[in-house]
């Protein structure tokens, strides 16, 4: 291959690597902490924040229009100017110049302006979130936080369902139970608005949960051990109305960050405000609004015996039918009789999943809820089934690492990385003189490529993987050493610079390939079968093996050839003895 094309390949690799690294750099270096905190919040929180912020900004702009209508828009309000220009063009009006704040603001309706500003806020946060998603993640040992492995006792589920009228086979039942356990955990954890929790199934019956940065050890146990809490409650429509009025005028100061009311006196003491949720297109909970419901539970979910999706006999529209046990039927009959024409909320884990008005008293325990499409009906059926499909969960392993401990680990890891690398490079420079520079460049590139590949696959960096990197550098030098030693030998045989370099590389090729392939086999194996720390370590080892072969065979070769053919060097500075 010609030097030019080799140089081109190297530059292309470096450029691609930089593109991979960019999100990580943006997130860890260029995003301020408060922005990180926002971006790591749940989508619901981001939405709440953007709309509250937008409302505030709109009011500020309106106030500015009233106070100083003739102020010309400043440079940092260019976004407003651009949007206003678009408005004028749409209306085919003359664009005022210079544009004053009044011109700009009055070109929008209030809703338009609010949504413009809200989108601006949201886009900014989502952009940061995107950087996070595409960047290298810090493992728990570096970021602090906690992980839990939960085992779902599926056998108990199968046993409990034996002989019941739900005629599903065991395999489906296990799968349904597992999916439900994961969903329940996800929605409960989600409610904390924790930063990017990881929840995934591991094997057949285990769930892995990771909460980076946050150590909610006091809460996580109740999250996991708590049963699916499903119940029926009465909606307090007066209090709901009172709350709506209050919330409209205090959008920013109604709730604290945990979702509790800051001023509990706005609703009666025996009520609480809960969000009403539906599933959005992605199957995620989306809050539609708030309802005030009675704290008192009208009917506990444990009375539900089965739930299914059926259809109304007359209109053929989908409906959710569920059957109550004897005691439940009695309670529900009395409750519905007392509250005809009032609202009934189905509450699961403190989220209102559905709400319906009571048409008549239902004394026989056969309940049907209507008024939704097929999809919504199925979602509600899933919610109801959590009541009777109880999946016992137990904690198999739990790890809590303090954030400050993580910071110490990062410092130690990078210190070791820097000192280890420096020692290796210094040694190479002293031992191999000029060729040592070659090795140094190769190793620094190696580290760069390793980081960017970790970033490209959004892999997690842990302390063991930093250890893996340091060791990989130590071992990657091996390829350089094999080549350099070989060149020295060829040189000692009396060959000239070009010939000994070519022979050195050619003869070393298979030694390097064989040794690295075997190491690669070991690394891949570890990364597939290992858990946690081993995995992180193995992945960086495997990546390091590939990049070290590239830097040793391509980059370092090009540097030698450049010295021979462009600088017209005759000697090789590779040792203190051989010239």
């Amino acid at each position: 291959m010609s030097k030019k094309s080799r140089l081109f390949i190297i530059l292309a690799v470096l450029a691609v690597c930089f593109a991979f690294l960019w999100p990580s750099i943006s997130w860890y270096v260029r995003t301020p902490k408060e922005m990180q905190a926002l971006a790591l919040g749940s989508l619901e929180k981001i939405k709440d924040y953007s709309s509250a912020q937008a409302l505030k900004d709109v009011n500020a702009l309106k106030a500015a229009v009233n106070a100083t209508p003739d102020t010309v828009l400043e440079k940092d309000q260019k976004w407003l100017k651009d949007a206003a220009v678009k408005n004028f063009k749409l209306k085919e009006q003359k664009i005022p110049s210079p544009m004053t704040i009044k011109d700009a603001v009055t070109s929008f309706s209030k809703e338009e302006l609010t949504s413009l500003i809200e989108t601006r806020y949201r886009d900014r946060i989502l952009k940061a979130k995107n950087y996070y998603k595409n960047s290298v993640k810090l493992g728990l040992d570096l970021s602090g936080g906690m992980n839990v492995i939960v085992k779902a006792d599926l056998d108990a589920v199968v046993k409990a369902q034996e002989g019941s009228e739900n005629g599903t086979d065991t395999e489906t039942l296990r799968k349904t139970a597992m999916a439900q356990a994961i969903e329940t955990l996800s929605s409960r954890i989600d409610k904390f608005g924790l930063s990017e929790p990881v929840i995934r199934q591991q094997g057949e019956d285990r769930i892995y949960i990771e909460l980076p940065g946050a150590a909610e050890a006091d809460q996580i146990n109740s999250i996991i051990m708590g049963r699916g809490i499903l119940n029926f409650r009465l909606v307090d429509s007066d209090a709901t109305e009172a709350f709506r009025v209050y919330f409209a005028s205090h959008p920013e100061s109604t709730f604290d960050s945990q979702g509790n009311l800051i001023d509990p006196s706005i609703i009666p003491a025996d009520d609480e405000v809960l969000g009403l949720y539906t599933k959005d297109d992605y199957g995620l909970d989306q809050r539609m609004g708030y309802l005030a419901v009675k704290k008192e539970i009208a009917l506990d979910g444990k009375h539900i015996k089965s739930a299914m999706v059926g259809s109304e006999s007359v209109t053929n529209k989908p409906q959710v039918e569920f059957t109550l046990d004897e005691e439940g039927a009695k309670i529900f009959g009395k409750f519905t009789g007392d509250h005809v024409n009032e609202g009934l909320a189905i509450v699961s884990d403190n989220k209102i999943k559905s709400y319906a008005s009571i048409k008549t008293a239902i004394p026989n325990g056969q309940v049907a809820i209507t008024g939704f499409n097929q999809e919504e009906a199925r979602n509600l059926q899933k919610v109801l089934q959590t009541a009777w499909l109880d999946v016992p969960l137990s904690v198999e392993s739990q790890q809590v690492i303090g954030a400050s401990l993580g910071k110490t680990a990062i410092r130690q890891g990078f210190m070791a990385l820097a000192i280890g690398l420096a020692a290796i490079l210094l040694f190479m420079l002293i031992y191999y003189k000029g060729a040592g520079i070659n090795a140094c460049v190769a190793q620094i590139l190696n580290l760069y490529i390793m980081f960017s590949i970790l970033s490209a696959f959004n892999l997690t960096i842990t302390l063991p993987s930093i250890a893996g990197m340091i060791l990989t550098i130590g071992m990657a030098v091996d390829a350089n050493v094999i080549i350099f030693e070989r060149i020295k030998e060829e040189r000692a045989l009396g060959k000239d610079r070009a010939a000994s370099i070519a022979a050195g590389f050619d003869n070393a090729f298979w030694a390097i390939m064989d040794s690295n392939i075997t190491t690669f086999i070991a690394a891949i194996f570890m990364s597939q079968l290992g858990t946690g720390s081993i995995q992180g370590f193995a992945v960086s080892l495997a990546i390091g093996v590939i990049s070290s072969v590239f830097t040793a065979l391509v980059v370092s070769r090009l540097m030698f050839d450049f010295g021979t053919e462009v600088v017209h060097k005759k000697n090789i500075s590779i040792s203190w003895r051989v010239k």
Binding site: A37, A409, F427, A503, T519, A522
Partner: protein
């Protein structure tokens, strides 16, 4: 021409030496056993610090305020609805005592910092309970600081041990300095039932009873249930064996079966030497230690393959009657490479050993031992084995035995790609 070193003379001695070492390891294994870490032995490890609460923080606004501590500063990250988004940093240099720091924190809207005990304590060395959420709310968030003025206040290992006397098989170790101790508490669980939550709660409440509710901060907890560690043990053994089999297969394809077997011998040797080291030092055996062993497997095969590659090459070019001559020549040829690579890798592992703590430190130590063993075994053990297998070797049969290799022939000058 370099003088060929007679490595082959030492083959037998080295084999005996290694065998003795490994036997001593087996003896150690029988008498002392392996000090299994939490990954392999079900139980709970908790690291706690015992010191008075220096300050309590509460927050009553609508934003999300997270408290962070670092070595040099205390940080509040404020985000969300109803506040300006910002990070407020309180450098200890600027706020040298707890009361000064509290004053600064009180200046933030919605935050109340309540100083308990003496406010004159140094802000450096401040820490928090890691088992509770760092998001501030109406529930007080406690900030602790070691009171290093009077060592009488500092809890001792014996006090902690006494406080936990009710638990069977509890093991308490002091980490850190005398004036600023961390206590590592380890309790094993035997039955398969889930006791995580209750165990943790019991330990915390016992400690709180002994040292005061406000004075116990949890730094780190680690819990492994018995079923989980069971599956890990079988998985680990499988992992090591399968890795070796795969490497052996590759080496058989690339070289010859006795070469491959020789390199596997070296791998087993290194694994056993590391076990011997782990047994005799009673180092904690965790998954990280397992990673060290697997790394050495990868490293040692690397070293062996480079030597075998040279042996294969020299078999083509050398004119000799004895296979040991070929081995000696190859080992001499690759000696400087073997040493330099070991040295550079050791730079890395020693740097890890010096700068890290905990399981990575053990990992680095085990690795350093493995590196020495790997270098030694690739030179003496695998070659020794091959020498034994080929003691009746005759020149000329090598051509059939060893697959020809593209690059073994000396490259001519004319083969170099022409310059542009």
């Amino acid at each position: 021409m370099k003088k060929t070193i007679k490595f082959s003379k030492a083959f037998l001695g080295c084999a005996i030496f290694s065998a003795l070492l490994i036997i001593s390891g087996i003896v150690g294994l029988c008498t002392k056993g392996i000090n299994f870490g939490i990954d392999f032995k079900p139980g709970l490890i908790e690291e706690v610090r015992i010191a008075p609460t220096a300050m309590e923080l509460t927050y009553n606004g609508s934003a999300q305020v997270t408290a962070n501590t670092s070595r040099t500063s205390f940080e509040l990250v404020i985000s969300g609805v109803g506040a300006d988004n910002e990070t407020k940093t309180f450098a200890y240099g600027q706020y040298p005592t707890i009361s000064k720091l509290a004053e600064g924190l009180n200046g933030v809207e919605g935050i109340t910092a309540n100083v308990l005990n003496s406010g004159d304590v140094d802000s450096y060395g401040i820490y928090t309970n890691n088992a509770v959420s760092a998001v501030l709310s109406a529930t007080p968030f406690r900030v602790y600081v070691i009171n290093d003025t009077g060592s009488a206040d500092v809890a001792t290992v014996d006090q902690v041990r006494n406080a936990l006397g009710a638990f069977s098989g509890v093991n308490v170790k002091a980490l850190g300095t005398d004036t600023d101790p961390d206590f590592q508490i380890r309790v094993g669980v035997t039955d398969s039932e889930d006791t995580n939550k209750s165990l943790q709660e019991d330990i915390t409440s016992s400690l709180q009873k002994a040292f005061g509710v406000d004075n116990v901060a949890i730094v780190k907890t680690d819990y492994v249930g018995s079923q989980f560690s069971q599956s890990l043990v079988s998985k680990s053994i499988w992992l090591v064996v399968a890795t070796m089999v795969l490497i052996w297969l590759y080496a058989t394809i690339r070289f010859h079966w006795d070469f491959a077997l020789g390199s596997i011998m070296a791998l087993c040797h290194d694994t056993l030497i590391m076990f011997t080291f782990i047994v005799w030092t009673q180092m904690e055996f965790t998954t990280t230690t397992l990673a060290a062993i697997l790394t050495i497997v990868g490293y040692s095969i690397n070293a062996t393959v480079v030597i075998l590659d040279r042996v294969r090459e020299n078999m083509k070019t050398m004119n000799t009657k004895k296979f040991n001559d070929i081995l000696d020549k190859s080992l001499t040829d690759t000696l400087s490479r073997s040493l330099i690579t070991t040295i550079t890798t050791m730079f890395a592992s020693v740097a890890l050993y010096i700068f890290t703590t905990g399981s990575i430190k053990d990992f680095a130590l085990a690795l350093t031992v493995g590196l020495v063993s790997g270098c030694y075994s690739s030179m003496y053990i695998s070659s020794g084995f091959i020498s034994l297998m080929r003691r009746h070797w005759e020149p000329g049969e090598n051509a059939n035995r060893v697959r020809p290799k593209k690059t073994t022939a000396h490259t001519n000058v004319s083969e170099i790609p022409a310059a542009e």
